[in-house]
């Protein structure tokens, strides 16, 4: 594929900008001539949507007489349901004293007194926020989902770590699972597993399983081949080598897999509420749909607290020296905590007493209203500039251009950036979207994503470069980035909603603050990864700091920056779809209304599929750019 481009640029001696410029002029001309023709306007009653809605009706009617459902899917549903009930029963039986005591004890064992106290305070916070019941429901759901993810994910991961062939088979599946926006799972799951806690647990599990498999596989594959060889040469069987060499050596990395699985589960469990899973998600979604930050905030805080507590507990376990023995005092304290908690169960009420809660709904709503009124000029200014300067022109361009012109542009862009395979994938995705009847909404979502990604990349690059060049700035920024990355995606909608109300811009703002941290980190690491010898050589040649940045550091960090763009796109897309709840409209809104209104189910389902297609398209285009290191085929060391 590159041979054509190379011969074109070196054979004819055209200036470098000639081809892109010519292509741009061609597209502009085509747009002017064909503008308004062959657009695919949205139709709520499209036959594709109705067919899916009908399918759902049929499945709901035959859920209990079709053998596939009767003997297979319903049993899975029942099994997961039973497990969830078990978790819930145990947690309810422990009551708040029991849960607090046991969590405190576990955390103390995992990470000493700091983590122990953090867990005690965190669990109490659920009660103080008045969200005890929902928090426990969430905990139960997360528990089931994580347990299932690990039971399935760790063996698969170990297998993938041991066998390159399995790894090659599993990796593309995981890739697609990870770029799929969270919403997209829900509709098909509702179709097969109905709605409620079991369906929610399964949705959460699907979302949380990729890191379990990926990191376990990595952990096992990283085990020193010398150690494995030594074990084999002593005559160990494969199982003996697995249990005595691979698993012990992979232990601490595998604990990270557990950590990541829990974090993913926590961010999905909220969304699972859309298919009627119980828990904190209910409050958040209620707050989002009514645009009331006061309702959302306590639930958001509770989710963050849960995330921080579980994160610290698992990270502390992962970082622990496997040879260190638990100290006797720690054991004693943990035992005492657990015993005290359990002993208090009969004494204290199982549900958190109402009179020690604080009600924040009204004050928070007031504060938001105050912010709305007083910062109106600034927030509206930002919002309007973005809307009129970027969003509206781009959207009208994409929706008024003929579909084939957009597809052609995507094809050529993908070809140039990532090669022929990515181009064909992108084209196939766009054609499928056109056939599904959601072209116009997809173009609107694409507009939002494009603008959000641009803003994210600009901010991310600036902060990343600043951090790479000023160690002091980096030292301040790092902990903030760390904290930002442990927070579930949903939380980012809170400030966005508070500042901007329900508009298209809200989703953009939320996705920018959601996606900036990893972008900053990748850019910073990329620039810092430039070998010091090269930097020194450039300085010795008399480069100014600016020349060093533009001619050496940024070009050499190209891979990291492209990876950052890729990450940014995937994260932004996920957030923009969630933004459908707060005024982003388009695909996200279709998905949400598909859950809330039975007659719109088909449209929601199809919109979910279109989101995935859009995600795959964007991912392939940028990922290819990352893999291809230069116009010529060569390996980078």
């Amino acid at each position: 594929m590159s041979s054509t481009t190379v011969s074109a640029s070196s054979g004819f001696r055209l200036p470098r900008w000639a081809i892109p410029a010519g292509a741009t002029i061609g597209f502009v001309a085509a747009y002017v001539i064909f503008r308004g023709t062959a657009t695919l306007p949205h139709d709520d009653e499209a036959p594709q949507f109705l067919a899916v809605t009908d399918l759902r009706e049929w499945i709901d009617d035959h859920r209990n007489d079709n053998p596939f459902f009767l003997y297979f899917l319903n049993y899975i549903r029942l099994g997961v349901g039973a497990l969830h009930t078990l978790f819930q029963t145990v947690l309810y039986a422990l009551g708040w004293p029991g849960i607090t005591g046991v969590m405190g004890a576990l955390a103390w064992l995992a990470g000493g007194w700091r983590t122990g106290l953090l867990a005690l305070a965190g669990v109490s916070a659920f009660g103080v926020l008045g969200l005890w019941q929902s928090s426990v429901d969430t905990l139960a759901l997360v528990g089931v989902a994580v347990l299932l993810s690990l039971v399935i994910g760790i063996p698969v991961g170990v297998w993938a770590g041991l066998s390159a062939r399995v790894r090659r088979t599993v990796t593309p599946v995981l890739d697609v699972m990870q770029i799929m926006p969270t919403f997209a799972y829900l509709a098909p799951l509702a179709l097969f597993f109905h709605i409620g806690a079991p369906a929610g647990a399964i949705a959460t599990m699907i979302y949380a399983i990729p890191p379990a498999i990926r990191i376990t596989a990595l952990a096992v594959a990283q085990v020193s081949p010398t150690a494995v060889e030594a074990s084999t040469s002593l005559g160990a069987t494969r199982w003996q080598t697995l249990f005595k060499v691979h698993l012990p050596l992979a232990r601490s990395t595998m604990a990270l897999a557990v950590n990541q699985t829990i974090m993913m589960a926590l961010s999905m469990v909220v969304i699972a509420n859309l298919i009627s899973a119980p828990g904190l998600g209910g409050d958040i979604i209620r707050g989002l749909s009514r645009a009331q930050v006061g309702i959302m905030l306590p639930a958001g805080v509770a989710i963050v607290v849960m995330a921080v507590v579980l994160d610290r507990m698992t990270l502390a376990t992962a970082r622990k020296d496997p040879r260190a023995r638990t100290r006797r005092t720690d054991l004693a304290v943990a035992g005492a905590l657990a015993a005290a908690g359990l002993a208090l169960i009969p004494v204290l009420p199982a549900v958190w007493p109402e009179n020690v809660t604080i009600d924040v709904v009204a004050p928070v709503n007031d504060a938001v209203r105050w912010a709305e009124e007083n910062w109106y000029a600034v927030t509206t200014g930002i919002k309007d500039v973005t809307t009129y300067a970027l969003l509206n022109p781009l959207e009208s361009l994409l929706t008024s251009a003929p579909w084939w012109l957009v597809a052609l542009a995507a094809l050529i862009l993908a070809w140039r950036v990532s090669g022929v395979r990515a181009a064909l994938t992108a084209l196939a995705c766009l054609l499928a979207i056109a056939l599904l009847g959601v072209w116009e909404h997809t173009m609107q979502t694409l507009t939002t994503v494009t603008v959000a990604v641009l803003v994210t990349l600009v901010i991310g690059l600036l902060l990343g470069v600043a951090a790479a060049r000023a160690p002091r700035f980096s030292a301040i920024q790092r902990p903030l980035l760390d904290a930002a990355q442990t927070m579930p995606a949903f939380v980012y909608l809170l400030p966005a909603l508070a500042l901007f109300g329900t508009t298209r811009f809200t989703a953009i703002f939320a996705s920018v603050i959601y996606a900036v941290p990893p972008v900053v980190r990748l850019v910073e690491d990329g620039i810092k990864g430039v070998p010091p010898t090269v930097v020194e050589a450039a300085v010795a040649a008399g480069s100014t700091p600016g020349q060093l940045l533009w001619k050496v550091q940024l070009p050499m960090a190209r891979r990291a920056i492209l990876l950052a763009a890729n990450q940014g796109i995937v994260m932004t897309l996920a957030m923009v779809v969630i933004g459908g709840l707060v005024g982003a409209g388009a695909l996200g809104y279709d998905v949400v209304s598909g859950f809330s209104q039975r007659t719109d189910f088909g449209m929601g389902f199809v919109a979910g599929v279109a989101t995935v297609l859009l995600g795959v398209m964007l991912d392939r285009i940028t990922q290819g750019a990352d893999r291809r290191t230069s116009p010529r085929k060569r390996k980078m060391s």
Partner: protein, 352 residues
């Protein structure tokens, strides 16, 4: 050495580099005289360069030799302030480098002093020609002009036909030729080499040393060459400074180092050097004794001892050693055999 400071290409005087937070305090007090290990224990600072002074003459190849950790790489970086010296004076072409503003310092780095690095420091995302032209590019030389110059330099270092390659497509030796070409392209007065060949295979290294000698003959740059390889130092260096623990222990020609090591450390270093290859007749000749026939063959004083062996075996008469047209002394077969057998030439010289 005989030259006045103004005619020297590089003058270094009382140069110190101490790493660590209390560097200035150490310099101000008596701690500066502690040896590096004791200093580190007492203050946590590391003295990398300690009170180093030398001059490099224009067009000279000046070699700094020492083991790893002796401070030689730090020293060469202090010359253009890639590492900021803690104290002392550095003058390049008479200009005080330590007083230069950042902009002036960049000008010095761009036009006067260029550097070749141990690990090449090439830009992997640029073609060879653009790597070579990098120094000109950042000076603002137009594309066509700098490419023409870079192509010229590439053929000078024997890399014709590789202009369009990327650095990682070349072997280590060729990559270092690119590094060399990049340093040459800006036509500097001084070239600094920081162990440029130590990452290369021995055979390639020999080629590259020959290349540097050839280039020095052709372009006549002042060169400061850092190495930890004694044979490299002896081969390239007109004068050699041996560094140990941040200080120069001896500075002299190869002959002076091998013939009269300043201390046991240097003596240990040069022990395995084949002395007959390094020392010249000047070193072993003696004043003619009465009765020595003075009609034997004549050889210049700068002839290495090994080259005199063939002459001595062809004629039984003592060899006349001539310097500047005058008789410097004589060497007969016995003197040569005694020297080759490893007896101290000083005892021979003592007779003179």
């Amino acid at each position: 050495m005989g030259d006045s400071p103004d005619s020297a290409a590089i003058t270094v005087e009382g140069l110190w580099k101490i790493f660590g937070s209390g560097a200035q305090k150490v310099l101000a007090g008596d701690d500066r005289n502690l040896d590096p290990v004791a200093l580190r224990e007492k203050t946590g600072c590391t003295a990398a360069v300690r009170d180093v002074s030398f001059e490099v003459r224009p067009g000279e190849v000046f070699v700094v030799m020492g083991l790893s950790g002796s401070g030689k790489s730090t020293l060469v970086r202090c010359l253009t302030r890639l590492i900021e010296p803690s104290a002392g004076e550095v003058r390049i072409d008479g200009e005080d480098v330590r007083a230069a503003s950042p902009a002036r310092l960049r000008e010095i780095r761009r036009h006067q002093v260029s550097m070749v690095f141990q690990h090449f420091g090439l830009l992997p995302h640029r073609k060879v020609i653009d790597n070579v032209a990098y120094g000109l590019e950042i000076q603002g030389v137009p594309r066509q002009e700098r490419h023409a110059r870079a192509a010229e330099i590439l053929s000078l270092v024997g890399l014709d036909g590789y202009a369009g390659s990327f650095p990682d497509q070349l072997s280590g030796g060729m990559q270092q030729r690119v590094g060399l070409a990049r340093a040459l392209a800006v036509d500097p007065q001084v070239m600094l080499f920081d162990e440029p060949f130590s990452a290369l295979d021995p055979l390639i290294r020999r080629d590259m040393q020959a290349e540097v000698i050839r280039l020095h003959r052709e372009v006549g740059k002042t060169m400061v060459f850092i190495t930890h390889d004694l044979s490299e130092a002896l081969k390239l260096g007109e004068r050699i400074a041996i560094m140990r623990a941040g200080a120069i222990v001896q500075l002299g020609t190869a002959e002076e180092l091998v013939g009269a090591p300043a201390d046991d450390y240097v003596a240990d270093f040069v022990r395995d050097v084949p002395r007959s290859h390094v020392l010249t007749l000047r070193w072993i000749c003696r004043a003619p004794e009465p009765g020595d026939p003075l009609d034997g063959p004549e050889l210049p004083a700068a002839t290495p001892v090994k080259d005199a062996v063939a002459v001595a075996s062809a004629s039984s008469l003592p060899i006349k050693v001539v310097a500047d047209g005058e008789l410097a002394g004589v060497v007969d077969r016995d003197d040569l055999l005694a020297f080759l057998a490893g007896q101290d030439p000083h005892s021979v010289r003592a007779n003179a």
